[in-house]
């Protein structure tokens, strides 16, 4: 099992700034149709200011449950989540969320979709117009501000989702397998674009994925979850230099990290 895995397991290098997010001894159990189901077990993780953390795990290991708890939509059964030093006890507006599917409102223009969080929070959309346009520029969508989502490709729609996630200057950006609905080529390009956007915006990111390559390419730190019930079996710092361009994929260090993670999945026989 996990404890026997040798390798570059290391504790996160604790930064001087206080952590944005602390997840402590988190456990989730819910009533399924066949009795109690344990989704997460004794999970710990910390994300510092401006840090990009990827949670890597097989399907059904409770990754999405983790995201719902961090965003305050679901209450944990045990343990607690602290965001900016405050315990999360319900929905709070300090996070931005990017979903698996673009999840846009098809009856609103791209610009209005980006402004949805502002409107829901009761702030003035006019006041945020320039910021929204800036985010659309960052995501390469300036020319599409007045288009409707169904006029955009899947990759473009997902970029609108990212811009929407950043509009209210969140303390933490939660991304739930944001590229899993895209085809392989778009997916690779989107990962590179996300890195550019992140280098610009420097937000703390919790990035949930089941793609080893995506995790190594994007993250400062990778947290590997086991099969259900999900618990941390590995914490891996990614020491590749940024920006990580497309040729980094063929570099020896990338290959090494990739092989390490992959071998790790093979041991438990649960690669997605």
């Amino acid at each position: 099992m996990s404890s026997t895995v040798a390798g570059a397991s290391s504790q996160p290098g604790v930064a001087s700034a206080p952590p944005r997010l602390v997840v402590k001894d988190l456990g989730v159990t819910y009533a399924g149709s066949r009795g109690q189901v344990q989704a997460l077990d004794d999970l710990n993780l910390t994300i510092g200011e401006g840090e990009f953390v990827a949670v890597l795990g097989p399907s059904g290991c409770g990754k999405s449950t983790l995201l719902k708890i961090v965003s305050g939509l679901l209450a944990p059964s045990s343990g607690e989540v602290t965001l900016n030093g405050k315990v999360v006890r319900g929905p709070q507006s300090e996070v931005g969320i990017v979903f698996q599917q673009p999840t846009l409102l098809p009856w609103k223009t791209v610009l209005d979709n980006v402004l949805v969080p502002i409107r829901v929070l009761g702030k003035s959309p006019a006041h945020y117009h320039d910021k929204a346009m800036g985010l659309l520029e960052l995501t390469g969508l300036t020319d599409f501000a007045s288009h409707y989502p169904n006029e955009l490709s899947g990759g473009m729609q997902q970029r609108v989702g990212i811009a929407r996630g950043l509009i209210n200057d969140p303390q933490l950006l939660l991304m739930d397998e944001p590229f899993s609905a895209l085809d392989a080529m778009t997916r690779e390009r989107m990962a590179a674009e996300l890195q550019t956007i992140w280098l610009e915006a420097r937000k703390a990111v919790l990035f949930i994925t089941h793609s080893i390559q995506e995790a190594v390419l994007l993250a400062d730190r990778i947290i590997v979850l086991s099969d259900r019930p999900g618990h941390v079996v590995e914490v891996l710092d990614v020491d590749l230099e940024r920006p990580r361009l497309s040729d980094v994929v063929t570099s020896p260090r990338f290959t090494e990290l990739y092989a390490h993670l992959r071998a790790f999945f093979r041991v438990d026989g649960k690669l997605r």
């Binding site: 999840t103 829901v120 409707y148």
Partner: protein, 266 residues
């Protein structure tokens, strides 16, 4: 020849061909013309009833019953669907009864409604309203509950009020399904009005058909049927145009697919 012209010309030619066959068969004497009058006599009858205006009060009565009943039934259905879809407890209490009532053939209530509301327009409006209620209600409820959970989660993550989620996410998500229900309701509305008039009425195309049947005036019966078809087609075209305009984000293909799928609820 352009595609557009072809699309328009092909059905027109088919129509003319059908009229010619109809005329040929009826004038050849193989079918007695008091059973199936030739199109020329139907045309003549149509000219007479419209120029003398004898059909107009009947047309007005049927159209009024249909429009009033459809509007009242649809509004009631929309309000009920919103309440039932939004409040789990209300759904638990009333949904079984609504399903049970849905399987009652509403036209069977026509004689009872005549007893309650009289021979005039009121009994037909109530009948039409009842008939329209169910397809609109079921479609609206299905649509409201089919809003994407991620969208609702997004709004909830920003502490949106229930009213805001309903207004911003659920209602627009349901718009396509609601229009599919209105489309079905409209067809049934015309049916309800005519059946109501068959049972008992002083005016209306349904009562005119019945009176003409007793007088053996087959051409006027044909005229009434053609008028009803035109009335239904016009109303349907108006609702379709509104559908396209209001639910602009769903393509015409998607809209027609929903309509066909939801027809089962009628």
């Amino acid at each position: 020849m352009s595609e557009r012209l072809k699309n328009w010309l092909s059905p027109s030619l088919t129509f003319v061909a059908l009229l010619l066959v109809w005329q040929g068969v009826t004038t050849s004497g193989s079918v007695p013309d008091y059973l199936i009058p030739p199109p020329s006599r139907v045309g003549a009858a149509m000219w007479t009833v419209y120029t003398t205006g004898t059909i107009l009060p009947h047309l007005a009565a049927t159209a009024t019953e249909m429009i009033l009943g459809f509007t009242a039934g649809s509004i009631a259905a929309l309000i009920a669907a919103c309440i039932v879809a939004e409040f789990r407890e209300v759904e638990r209490c009333v949904y079984p009864f609504i399903v049970a009532l849905q399987s009652v053939p509403k036209v069977a209530l026509a004689p009872l409604l005549i007893v309650w509301f009289g021979f005039g327009i009121a009994s037909k409006v109530v009948l039409v309203g009842l008939i329209c209620f169910f397809p609109v209600f079921v479609n609206a409820m299905t649509g409201l509950q089919a809003a994407r959970p991620e969208l609702v989660d997004l709004y909830r993550a920003f502490s949106a009020t229930r009213w805001r989620i309903f207004w911003d996410v659920k209602l627009p998500s349901a718009a396509g399904a609601i229009f599919a229900g209105l489309q079905v309701g409209l067809v049934l509305a015309l049916l309800g009005a005519v059946v109501g008039e068959f049972v008992a009425a002083q005016e209306g195309l349904g009562s005119l058909i019945q009176a003409s049947s007793l007088n053996f005036d087959v051409p006027v019966m044909f005229v009434c049927i053609v008028t009803l078809a035109a009335l239904g087609a016009t109303a349907s075209a108006i609702v379709r145009a509104l559908h396209r305009r209001i639910v602009f984000w769903e393509g015409p293909r998607a809209a027609s697919a929903t309509t066909t799928k939801q027809n089962g609820h009628a």
